[in-house]
Symmetry: C2
Subunit: 343 residues, 2 copies
Amino acid sequence: MAKSTDSLDRGPRAALNIQAVAAAAGVSKTTVSHVISGNRPVSESTRRKVERVMDDLGFRPNFFAQALNSKKSNTIALIAQDITNPFYPALARGLQTSVASADHVVMLFDAGAGHSLTRSFVDDVIQRRIDGVVVAVSNVEEELVELQQAGIAVVAIGSGLSGLPIDWVSADDERIGIDATRYLYRAGHRRIATISGPPEAEPGTGRLAGYIKTMTEVGFGVDPRLCAVADWTREGGAIAFRKLLDQAEPPTAVFCANDLMAIGVLDAAAEAGLRVPGDLAVIGVDDIDAASLVRPGLTTIRVPALEIGQAAGDLLLHRIAEVDESARRHITVQHTLITRESA
Amino acid sequence: MAKSTDSLDRGPRAALNIQAVAAAAGVSKTTVSHVISGNRPVSESTRRKVERVMDDLGFRPNFFAQALNSKKSNTIALIAQDITNPFYPALARGLQTSVASADHVVMLFDAGAGHSLTRSFVDDVIQRRIDGVVVAVSNVEEELVELQQAGIAVVAIGSGLSGLPIDWVSADDERIGIDATRYLYRAGHRRIATISGPPEAEPGTGRLAGYIKTMTEVGFGVDPRLCAVADWTREGGAIAFRKLLDQAEPPTAVFCANDLMAIGVLDAAAEAGLRVPGDLAVIGVDDIDAASLVRPGLTTIRVPALEIGQAAGDLLLHRIAEVDESARRHITVQHTLITRESA
DNA sequence: CTGAAAGCGCTTACAG
DNA sequence: CTGAAAGCGCTTACAG
């Protein structure tokens, strides 16, 4: 009788693993492992032989087994408020660019997809031992704390989440407000209005602060009749502007805290028969695609979403690599004035 | 002497794993595993005890260990041509919506981030045993084949990659061309031009085919002087339209294969002193945000990116779950005419 | 309904 | 410069 438990029938096709490579190369699993990881010196000839075999066999180390040992997933998660808002895809690209250099991959979670999936996504992130998370969504302080307690590196986008010791990246919102307001002032405007975002959070508050600071500095002071608030949308901007118009001395210029509201102002201005920039100057913030598509083209302040993503990735990689917990870090990205026709 | 290798010093804090849960609950690892997976019945009282302990300890099963055994990563990858093009974020959202229902997570790869990272991303996908991939990028036939050979489910977006036996999702491009052209015809236009995309690939060819079919059907035939080609960009659309204008009998209507080119036509028309829709009717495809922002508002055919993403996710989940390899599947999503001012 | 034990494919002290 | 072996934290036949 032939020995039936021989090399012939070890199941459905021998698995292609480190053991198979070791056998084919005539070395130990240990050595193959070190050729892959580079964690200890291997003689030139051995290395070449092993690499040759891996190539011939088309071997790729099993990621799960590697991660199970190393406790590193080489994965970064992005939790985005609303991926269909052009700011976030640009941020995602910047993030990918940054972390790809360290061989990390990006997992996307779009909170705008509805449901309260955010909760379960945080669980996923923890369970999958994601190395770091970029949190670009509001009102998730609780989840942030949980992520940190699970030992995951976290960086917040846009606002500092007061009190929490987490890294964050943002534009210099007050400076944006100052630059926009000064630009209108220097163009000769004296009744300058602002339409800011809802007062509860950055970046709305910072931009408004910059407006107030500038109006005070140049000696105009702040006239409450020139300060409107809207909800970041085009329609909201139009509504707010109609109210601003409805007074004895209407403004000749408006600083809007984002482009969408500024476009709403353009709508309402056209409706009211005002010519832009002749009768009314308008400036926004963001430089979304539409800013260059509307007529007249919208003058705006560009917030570099791509750079924000990159900075977030850099902070994360740094935090992941470092041994001692160092202090909280904050990166501020630079904005740029984009001059078009509206102001 | 006290027994020094006692329960006191088993290293830096005992690991929180299935073994620890088993011990605390007074059952075996096997049982804990089955409580988690539901792979075999567990008595009601035991299940409750184990769940209680997991909750108290804050235990979450280690994803890598699970995946190492099950060979499932519960992860879907999206390879997007250009995540800053609004079509892709919407697709990503639809994909997430679909796969989240099966507890899968989305990994994003933006091919537009530059470099030829696509190559290394494909390697990552294989190595990480990603369950399925949505390929929304062109010229990667080689990589597609490789992914399939690695046993990964693949679905292509937009075009069928002739010959390859892979599932795909697309709009009905010929029908889009027909609907757009007929709309212009019914509005009374007789000299209808088209600006199509580069001829080498869908969706350009399909939309052009629809235009040709309709022009033939209504008896006009195809006049080469009315057929222009551009590169999908705004500037390209403007350039192409200037050429169309430069003839004895210029068109009174233009069907553009995407919105960006249609907006370029609006630019060039304004420049040439043509009023839209009075002197010229323009229709695009996609319904990007900008379509509603330009003046006059762009009439267009909406391609439901979100639904495409969902359909892709559904195909993938189906393909992953199924045992026997069934035939290639193709899903066509429905488009809608969005009437604004330009036509 | 439940357990003991082998195994998934790696990494990493320990030893030479 | 290289190996044997224990271990990472699960799942799953096999057995009762």
